[in-house]
């Protein structure tokens, strides 16, 4: 099963197997990785599963469509950056095996 590395804001890394088709958010929550809250349960209706996508993966993952619900929610996140995504909107697929994401200072 492909793996994802989640790095907490304090630097602690968690390597987790995430099944194909499962969201990166769900991969963290189901494995008790701290730092992702996911208050809305994956509906793209809050911004509390916010991650920074590692530069090496940004091309494969891409950025949210301008004007999309995800872009709107991210624009209200406390510490958004150009590499920010909502992890509930990224589904695991083969080519993302080894993905690295970092968590922000807080999920707001």
């Amino acid at each position: 099963m492909p793996e994802v590395t989640y790095i907490e804001h304090n630097g602690t890394a968690h390597r987790v197997e995430v099944p194909i088709g499962t969201t990166i958010m769900r991969g963290a929550v189901d494995n008790n990785v701290p730092g992702i809250d996911a208050d809305c349960g994956g509906e793209c209706a809050c911004a509390t599963c916010h991650v920074y996508v590692d530069a090496a993966w940004l091309d494969k993952i891409g950025l949210p469509e301008p004007g999309s619900q995800e872009a709107a929610m991210l624009s209200f996140a406390a510490v958004a950056q150009p590499d920010s995504r909502l992890s509930c909107q990224i589904k695991m697929r083969e080519e993302l095996a080894g993905l690295v994401v970092r968590m922000p200072e807080g999920q707001h």
Partner: protein, 417 residues
């Protein structure tokens, strides 16, 4: 509808024709009898039209999923003050309050971003020590073995201090902020409301805005970096030029948002644990459950009963057609008790799986900006209650606010052992 013992709300809720159900009646919340009406609506008519109410015709959205659908669809469901705003009770002509909660994009977002840094992670971390110090002081000063009002002595005491800090307002004058909070949220036809007409409400809020404007002018002229709401608005591009009316509106919004909801969750939690004492025992035995318990308390109490939207176009929901211009109430107090979304929703369960997925903070772009500050205050309160191993005995049921907007607890008599 009075609260005498002969009146059975369940019987009433299930016997009257569906179209006669009107959940906007403030007495339902004052008398704590609203649940059976929503239970019936969720089962039989989850997207419900009430033709005739004190607040005019309106739709009620009662299920979790449907509320979510409305909340995230800000293209169709508007918050605009000039269309009536975010309460079932319309903004009254001449007294409208154009706060950012009552705006759509991009106006809402630009203004919201001016104030949101006050509750960003770094600022919260800075405030934690202060909140704990005050919480300790308040808890240590409580009487033992005599009945007192938890709302006044704890909930209001803590949240009014927090609010003064957020505005960098003189601490000794914090009761004035609480008064203006009550002025903002009240229904003016409530007999013991602090004001009795829209004109009187506006006049009181003008006094508030004048006081805020004086602080604003001082802080706008200073280049010192400050982290209070007034300084942030006075320096941000989107808000620095706002007129007096918008200043009044935003300050009254931030006063209410900055205290009222947390205040009532502080009281609601104590009431909740008195009904579910085994859950309090569970929490005492495992204080690591405090964050989860806090989310659960915020769900179980649901401090904001509803928020309203106005449809900008026709929209199909649950087999009904909401028409352009219709008022739509998202009843968070019902969505949080939706059996299809939440298992055993009427129970307060401190280790509930996915406790964070309640609907009390709303969803979508208008989601509560202060939610993490609210959680922080509640977490510290319960941590310190547990640190002292306080046993809080509730002596009588709460007295609730007459409101269809705020799930307010005015009195909660308790004794501490």
């Amino acid at each position: 509808m009075d609260a005498n013992v002969a009146f059975d709300p369940r019987e009433d809720a299930y016997s009257k024709p569906l179209d006669q159900i009107d959940v906007s009646v403030p007495e339902l919340y004052q008398n704590d009898i609203y649940q059976p009406y929503f239970e019936r609506l969720r089962r039989e008519d989850p997207v419900h039209f009430c033709e005739d109410s004190h607040f005019g015709p309106y739709w009620s959205v009662t299920r979790y999923k449907d509320i979510m659908a409305i909340a995230v669809n800000n293209q169709v469901f508007s918050s605009r003050w000039d269309l009536g705003g975010v309460r079932l009770e319309d903004q009254v002509h001449g007294y409208e309050r154009p706060s950012f909660i009552q705006m759509d994009e991009p106006d809402h977002g630009e203004r919201r971003k001016a104030v949101s840094p006050v509750v960003a992670p770094g600022n919260l971390a800075r405030m934690e020590g202060l909140i704990r110090e005050r919480t300790n002081m308040v808890l240590d000063g409580l009487p033992r073995g005599e009945t007192f009002n938890w709302v006044k002595e704890v909930s209001i005491e803590l949240t009014s201090r927090m609010l003064a800090t957020l505005f960098d307002w003189p601490l000794e004058d914090r009761h004035r902020l609480m008064y203006w909070s009550d002025v903002t949220v009240c229904h003016v036809d409530t007999p013991d409301a602090p004001v009795h007409s829209e004109a009187e409400r506006y006049a009181e809020l003008q006094k508030m805005a004048s006081a805020m404007k004086a602080l604003w002018d001082e802080r706008a002229a200073s280049n010192a970096q400050r982290f209070d709401l007034i300084s942030m608005m006075a320096h941000a591009d989107a808000t620095r030029n706002m007129d007096f009316r918008e200043l009044l509106a935003n300050c009254s919004l931030l006063i209410v948002g900055g205290n009222d909801t947390t205040r009532n969750s502080m009281s609601g939690g104590v009431w909740g644990f008195s009904k579910f004492p085994d859950e309090y025992r569970k929490l005492r035995e495992n204080p690591d459950l405090v964050p989860s318990a806090v989310s659960e308390i915020v769900r179980w109490h649901t401090p904001v009963l509803h928020l309203r939207r106005t449809a900008l176009e026709d929209f199909e929901l649950g087999g009904k057609t909401i028409r352009k211009g219709d008022k739509v109430a998202m009843w968070f107090v019902s969505g949080n008790r939706d059996e299809d979304a939440i298992k055993d929703p009427h129970d307060l369960i401190v280790d509930r799986p996915r406790a964070r997925e309640h609907i009390s903070f709303g969803f979508g772009v208008h989601r509560c900006v202060g939610n993490r500050l609210a959680e922080l205050q509640l977490r510290i309160l319960w941590e310190e209650i547990l640190n002292r191993d306080l046993e809080i005995e509730v002596m009588d049921k709460p007295k609730y606010l007459r409101s269809n907007l705020i799930h307010g607890i005015r009195e909660l008599p308790v004794q501490i052992h």
